[in-house]
């Protein structure tokens, strides 16, 4: 059956980014709070900024006025032979005004740049730190793609507003009000006539704003799809090429790209109507003023200089309107970005830091589950009620089929999640009473996802203990059996691992991850399928190393391959979130239970 061009994306739960109208009002309040919070401490600088820009604009606006004054009042005395006094005053004033404008404007540009960049830096810091603070449960739902776009495109949207919007908008608004005031002051009668088209201007602007909001939202939606499709194609390029996906991808991308183009076209067309519209209104007003003002001058009710001043200012009155509309989109995208960012910042970590943390100076590694119930989704408990005590130093192998709750158990010990009911205790202390730092020094979990950060091999091994010397790094690698392959790399321990460790095989990455966990030297070590990518000799090396490594610490090993079980002191068989068998491996194999069956199947698979 053929797949239609439109249904390839399939169905998913509502995107959390799409907000309906009601919610967005509430969110605006939330964004305003964040904004106030960011701006608050910089209030004094902002007052200074406003003062500067008012002075700067006053100076700028005064220049045409001074020119008119120079022509009207300065030149006639000269033609009458009365000397250039007034003219020189006018010229000096113009130069002074230009100087003041230059100084204040430069000051303003630098200060507003500084304030903007400071706010941006603080926002970046806050959001980044907050993402780091939020629990895994949040990250699993929110997905890395959204985290990345919050910290890149959304922050950049705000940066753009701060960089250009602020300057342009403030100047534009001040110019408009300043000009309007000046017009009325210069001649109330003609001034009011000149401002007559204002209601039309406002209505027209409102129409544009509404239309442009719709167009803008559409652009954001379409570009988001372009981005997702692009990124996924590039990160998954191996599968794309291997399965000849290129033509279909091109077709989908072309469609998304066209949608994006159409959305953009709508936005540009709106501007194409709005800008000349404003211009038309401006020109007609000027022509009207010219006629009416000319008539007034002829009647002797108006000075020629005032009329020329009017012509100059009216131009200035309409220009900023175009500027304001230009920045409207910037403003909107910054607003939307702020909404999303403030939403993230209000998210509470599900796994909260304790207010009165307990001390655990020397963790021994006794782990206890006390009546632990856990459910990811209400009324579908993964662990219905678990009691378990692991004495310090014991090595436990956790066995059971997929979905039995083994990984959940491991995540609870690492406090990636908190139990829905009951307590998880380390050396008798509830994990919820331990500070993150304390807990992470005591408990480390290695999974089959071995994320390597860009940097050298040594940096990656050192990740859990940054102060480790290169000798300690080497010892850790030797203990785990990773040393040999590392020294074979082009630059040994200083080899760059490449994008996500791309220069290494999955097995090599896993060995590095092991060395990393070993160097961190925790009291409790959890291995969740940590050896699945290793070949047998490597796995055996790791297992041998584990015998010594695990000797003096508590360990919890989850593995499908039962070979690992051998080094365990105790085997727990889990079934539907409950422990159904519990005992030393030798004893369980001898019995006729679940584990004996699994073990037999495994022996057969070795053939």
């Amino acid at each position: 059956m053929s797949v239609q061009a439109t249904d390839w994306r399939g169905v998913a739960a509502e995107n959390q980014d799409d907000l309906d109208e009601k919610v967005s009002i509430l969110l605006r309040k939330r964004s305003r709070r964040l904004l106030a919070d960011l701006i608050g401490p910089r209030r004094r600088s902002i007052y200074l900024l406003i003062t500067m820009i008012v002075i700067s604009n006053a100076a700028r606006l005064s220049i045409p006025l001074l020119v008119a004054y120079g022509i009207d009042q300065g030149i006639p005395p000269m033609t009458r032979g009365e000397g250039p006094r007034t003219l020189i005053i006018a010229v000096t004033s113009i130069l002074a005004a230009a100087g003041v404008q230059a100084y204040t404007r430069q000051y303003f540009l630098k200060l507003s740049g500084r304030i903007g960049q400071d706010i941006l830096l603080e926002l970046r810091r806050r959001v980044f730190a907050h993402f780091q603070k939020l629990s895994l449960s949040f990250h699993e739902k929110y997905t890395s793609g959204r985290v990345i776009s919050r910290l890149t495109s959304d922050v950049e949207a705000i940066a753009e507003l701060l960089q250009q919007g602020f300057d342009g908008l403030v100047t534009a608004v001040l110019t408009m009000f300043g000009t309007a005031a000046l017009l009325v002051v210069m001649d109330v009668h003609l001034g009011l006539v000149a401002l007559l088209p204002l209601p039309i201007l406002l209505l027209f602007t409102r129409w544009f704003r509404n239309q442009s909001t719709i167009a803008y939202r559409r652009t954001r939606e379409t570009v988001a799809l372009v981005i997702v499709h692009f990124v996924e194609s590039m990160t998954g390029i191996r599968a794309v090429q291997a399965f000849r996906r290129e033509p279909r991808n091109q077709e989908i991308f072309g469609k998304l790209n066209d949608d994006y183009r159409d959305a953009n076209a709508r936005g540009m067309q709106l501007i194409a109507i709005f800008m000349p519209g404003i211009k038309l209104l401006g020109n007609l007003t000027i022509a009207g003023v010219l006629i009416y003002g000319g008539y007034l001058v002829l009647q002797g009710e108006l000075m020629v200089g005032v009329l020329t001043g009017f012509l100059l200012y009216l131009r200035q009155f309409y220009e900023p309107m175009q500027e304001i509309s230009q920045f409207y989109n910037t403003l909107q995208s910054a607003g939307a970005a702020l909404e999303k960012l403030s939403g993230v910042l209000e998210e509470e970590p599900a796994v909260a830091e304790p207010s009165a943390p307990a001390a655990l100076p020397r963790p021994k590694g006794q782990v206890r589950f006390d009546q632990v119930r856990f459910a990811y989704v209400e009324d579908r408990p993964i662990l219905p009620g678990l009691d378990l005590t692991v004495p310090a130093g014991q090595t436990i192998a956790l066995v059971g089929s997929t979905g039995a709750g083994k990984t959940t158990l491991a995540k609870l010990i690492s406090r990636f999640y908190d139990p829905t009911e009951g307590r998880v205790l380390l050396d008798g202390v509830d994990l919820r009473d331990l500070e993150e730092g304390t807990l992470r020094r005591a408990v480390v979990m290695v999974t089959q996802e071995n994320f390597l950060f860009s940097g050298t091999v040594a940096d990656n091994i050192r990740f859990g203990k940054p102060e480790a010397t290169i000798d300690e790094v080497r010892q850790a690698a030797e203990a785990i059996g990773a040393h040999d392959f590392i020294v074979d790399l082009p630059d040994g321990y200083d080899t760059e691992v490449g994008k996500r460790g791309g220069h290494m095989s999955a097995g090599q990455r896993q060995l590095v991850a092991f060395a990393r966990a070993f160097l961190a030297d925790p009291a409790v070590l959890i291995l969740d399928e940590a050896t699945s990518s290793l070949d047998v000799p490597s796995e055996r090396l790791v297992q041998r190393a584990l015998r010594t490594i695990l000797a003096d610490r508590t360990a919890l090993i989850i593995a499908h391959r039962l070979s690992t079980v051998e080094i365990a002191d105790r085997v727990l068989v889990m079934e539907h979130g409950q422990i159904v068998e519990d005992g030393p491996p030798g004893e369980l194999i001898g019995s006729d239970g679940r584990f004996a069956g699994l073990h037999r199947a495994w022996l057969e698979s070795l053939a």
């Binding site: 390839w8 740049g113 990124v231 990160t235 183009r261 038309l280 007609l284 089929s401």
Partner: protein, 564 residues
């Protein structure tokens, strides 16, 4: 670039014409004002007022219409250009080989496809035209001024000298700072990407503070560079505004003297200053426009950097009429950055046969499998399918014959169905179902919308084992003549693995198979085993033979220490 613009040649002419005419209108408009003041108003001639006023209205309307024409016409070409380049970039990137993608962060590519291209769009749609219009307007106005009263015109012209000199100097500095800021933004984005993707590892080791520290350093550095840019442009922009104002003062001074001596009329001086004021904006806009042009150049460079990378794996022209799946590796070698990963690999896999590839971690198994569908190209020897060198075949034909299930499966933010039919768009529901059964991926039916459920980054998240099974179903569904399984079953539990292997036996009966294996159980899927050591195949034989005769093989496979 030129070829992208060609289809719009007609429109472009219209756009430029209306742009030029609108400049004319905008210059004419104040001149009409002058005529009104100098003529009817000064001469007390009410009858002359109306015709001139109507002319003002006409010119004003014409200006607006011309602006509209220009803007409206520009939409098509500018967006067409952007869209076409983006399409082409995407197409090019899809053609570039794995090696390229291994070195480029997808974020870096994305910023070229989005940020850089919209920068180009903004420049072409707004900046470029305004830059030229500003320059033309400045030139024309200066010309008009010169013709009106040349000493003053000369003065205005002279004021352009410091502007030009400073612009050139500014441009140089700005390029440097601007590129630095862009690069630092890229670095920061990479840190963000890693912090998001590696969140589990960061949490597991409690290293949030450390990661934050790195990010903070980078963000602070970006802050410093951006401030440098802010200071630079603040200085430049201000300067650009001062010069016309100072010139204006001088014009007034000299103009007054000229009026006094009767060289020009009061109305002429008025028009002169009006025109000069109309120059303030274009001149001060120059700073912003030059900066924009600069950034657009940088963006274009960044896009071309990718576009100019030739795809090192090029399409052949041959096809295999009736592929049987006879795979031969003849003296194959592969080197990466002068490091020889594979050499002298000889292997013959007859149609329908399955070979298990066994070797220690890092021995080059994955590299070897990537040579068959030409995800990588051999650097020595050749790979043949049914007697054809794979480099002579059309890539689409070759990859129809070969399908791979990877150890780290890639799922896209699409429906399950679309993900599975990646390699076989025409698959029937029955074929789909049978592939799902083979891979033991029946869990897809339990997803909220069954096969239409969106999975991947933007949809439901699946476990490692579930992802592997989908990748396997995908490979099986494309009904390849040669099926490559690159340690596809590592994340499955023992029971599921056994079921999958049982089902795979049927699939492999009809296809030539290459199975990368770590476990004896997987090896048993194969008819024979090839042992890969130090970059070459040292032994080929059945599992039993190799167990008995090759100690290294025993070491590798029989080594799972059995519990006593």
């Amino acid at each position: 670039m030129r070829s992208y613009l060609r289809p719009y040649a007609g429109k472009l002419v219209l756009i430029w014409t209306s742009a030029l005419l609108s400049i004319g209108a905008s210059i004419a408009f104040p001149l009409v004002g002058e005529a009104v003041i100098d003529g009817p108003v000064s001469r007390d001639d009410p009858a002359g007022l109306l015709p001139l006023a109507l002319l003002a209205v006409g010119v004003g309307v014409a200006e607006a219409v011309l602006i509209f024409t220009r803007r409206w016409m520009l939409v098509g070409p500018v967006l067409g250009l952007e869209t076409k380049i983006r399409d082409d970039l995407y197409e090019h990137l899809q053609r570039l080989p794995m090696r390229f993608h291994g070195e480029w962060q997808s974020g870096q590519l994305l910023s070229r496809a989005t940020t850089d291209l919209s920068m180009l769009r903004r420049f072409l749609g707004f900046g470029l035209l305004f830059l030229f219009m500003s320059v033309i307007q400045i030139a024309v106005v200066t010309g008009v001024l010169l013709s009106k009263y040349w000493p003053l015109g000369l003065l205005v012209l002279g004021s352009a000298i410091p502007i030009v000199l400073l612009s050139l100097k500014f441009e140089k500095q700005y390029i440097k700072v601007s590129r630095q800021v862009q690069d630092e933004q890229g670095d920061l984005a990479t840190l963000v990407e890693e912090s998001a993707l590696g969140i589990r590892t960061i949490k597991a080791f409690g290293r949030a503070k450390h990661v934050f520290g790195t990010y903070d350093d980078s963000a602070t550095q970006l802050h410093a560079s951006t401030m440098q840019r802010v200071r630079l442009s603040a200085k430049f922009w201000t300067f650009l505004e001062v010069i016309p104002n100072v010139t204006l003062a001088l014009v007034l001074l000299i103009g007054a003297w000229a009026v006094g001596t009767g060289a020009i009329t009061l109305g002429a001086l008025l028009a002169f200053t009006t025109l000069m004021l109309s120059l303030v904006w274009p001149i001060s806009a120059l700073g912003f426009l030059i900066a924009m042009a600069q950034e657009a150049m940088t963006s274009a460079d960044r896009v071309m950097e990718v576009m100019d990378t030739p795809p090192s794996i090029v399409d052949g022209s041959g096809t295999v009429a009736e592929p049987r799946g006879h795979l031969r590796l003849e003296g194959v070698g592969f080197a990466y950055d002068d490091k020889r990963l594979l050499h002298d690999v000889w292997l013959d896999v007859r149609p329908g046969e399955t070979v298990a590839l066994v070797g220690a971690t890092g021995s080059g198994k994955t590299t070897l499998t990537a040579l068959v569908p030409r995800l990588l190209d051999v650097t020595e020897g050749r790979v043949t399918v049914d007697g054809h060198d794979v480099r002579d075949l059309r890539l689409s034909a070759l990859r129809e014959i070969v399908a791979t299930a990877f150890e780290e499966p890639t799922l896209f933010s699409m429906s399950v169905r679309e993900n599975l039919t990646l390699g076989n768009k025409e698959a029937t529901d029955e074929e789909l179902e049978s592939a799902i059964q083979t891979a033991q991926a029946g869990f897809v039916h339990d997803l909220p919308w069954g096969l239409d459920t969106r999975i991947g980054e933007q949809g439901m998240s699946l476990s490692g084992g579930q992802r592997q099974r989908l990748a396997l179903a995908r490979a099986v569904l494309s009904k390849p003549k040669i099926l490559v399984l690159d340690d596809t079953l590592s994340a499955l539990d023992v029971e599921t693995e056994a079921l999958v292997e049982e089902a795979l036996k049927h699939v492999l009966r009809d296809a030539t198979g290459i199975v990368v294996a770590h476990r004896a159980s997987t090896v048993l899927l194969a008819d024979k085993v090839a042992l890969l050591q130090d970059g070459t195949i040292t032994h080929v034989g059945t599992h039993q033979e190799l167990l008995e005769t090759v100690p290294q093989y025993r070491e590798l496979l029989a080594a799972e220490e059995v519990l006593a």
